[in-house]
Amino acid sequence: MIPDGASLMIGGFMAVGSPTRIIQEIVRQNKRNLTVIANDTAVPGVGIGSLVSAKLVNKLIVSHIGLNPETQRQMMDGNLDVELVPQGTLVERIRAGGCGLGGVLTRTGIGTQVEQGKSRIEIAGTSYLLETALQADFALIHAFLADHTGNLTYALTARNFNPIMAMSGHTVIASADNVVPVGVISPDHVVTPAPLVDFLVGNP
């Protein structure tokens, strides 16, 4: 389903809340030239790090790669294009992409390297950077509970970028620790509503 050259948003924070089984399948199928938008690349060979270690990624948009020397090495060697984005800006760019907004205005990054190539907009005497929205061909996310219609809830800090990315991938593929009958997740506790989820990967 995912072709070579696809752009992927992948949930998780240091691999916590990453859709590990989906990532492993991409590695198995050896899909190449991927663009990955995610918070970080975990550590070598783990979570999103396994895509990097298998050299399947040629562009990364992330906030942090400090705990993955393999990502840094590929970047220094010129084999991997890495755009570093402040974490709060990254999540807002993804949110904007899924909410029909062209971008967001933030003070974060003003006067730093992050400002290069961006417009500055002044509102009521305060300067903001214009940060453009992000979308991707696929959002690959992981939930704690999924019901048969695709409603999702998340566990503790495994939530992170997942519900935001569920809004901004053209096709959303979710994996879940547990798939439960409809009704188990009460409407008040649904975080990602079913119509957003196109495909669900259960836990065998």
């Binding site: 570093l84 949110r95 933030t106 974060t108 006067g111």
Partner: protein, 219 residues
């Protein structure tokens, strides 16, 4: 003089800046240690920017929950009254000025109070993670760093490394000194037990204002 590891001196001094009721975000490294030296009388909420308020100490061996970690990916506990949320909410709290205090590590701080802590061009490019948002949005920013590294002062005239924000930090705590900022100058506020003003100035590249009386830190 009590002999103490530099990071312990720094963490213990910073722990005294925390007040009950504060929402506090601790960065990776020395800042994480601050929680360990907090007085039991002080009740604060610790935020982990991966989506948790109410972060507690690391769990006992064997009790780690795979979906309960801090921003470094290390297992933590959640205290009674904790809450979890997504990354947009987490950074809304940070950028929106809801975080009372952040403590961050530093590679350099300069005379103007600018912090550099996210990359060494050509050598180490970890990325800024949440640091730029924290320095921009937190009500108060404290830098926890060693005074010098490999013989070179980390408190410099002007940052040679890319800065994290143009916002001036509020306080810098090293194993030798506590330094604050007035409108124009950094000011030496306190010295570590047994350390003289001359010893601090010798290891400081930035021009420090030195008041007549520089008291010892209470740890």
């Amino acid at each position: 003089m009590i002999s103490m590891e530099p990071q312990v001196t720094i963490a213990r001094r910073i722990a005294r800046e925390l007040q009950s009721g504060m929402l506090v975000n601790l960065g990776i490294g020395i800042p994480t240690l601050v929680a360990k030296y907090l007085s039991p009388d002080v009740q604060v909420f610790f935020q982990s920017e991966n989506g948790l308020i109410g972060t507690g100490a690391p769990p006992e061996e064997g009790l780690a929950h795979p979906a309960l970690t801090d921003a470094a990916g290390h297992p933590v506990t959640a205290l009674p009254g904790a809450s979890t949320f997504d990354s947009a909410m987490s950074f809304g709290l940070i950028r929106g000025g809801h975080v009372d205090l952040t403590v961050l590590g530093g590679l350099q701080v300069d005379q103007g109070g600018h912090l550099a802590n996210w990359m060494i061009p050509g050598k180490l490019v970890p990325g800024m993670g949440g640091a730029m948002d924290l320095v921009t949005g937190a009500k108060r920013v404290i830098v926890a760093m060693q005074h010098a590294a490999k013989g070179a002062s980390k408190f410099v005239g002007s940052c040679t490394l890319p800065v994290t924000s143009t916002r001036r930090v509020d306080l810098v705590v090293t194993e030798l000194a506590v330094i604050g900022f007035s409108e124009e100058h950094p000011i030496l506020l306190e010295r570590a037990p047994g350390i003289s003003v001359a010893q601090i100035l010798e290891k400081t590249e930035a021009r420090l204002m030195v008041p007549q009386d520089v008291p010892e830190m209470t740890l």
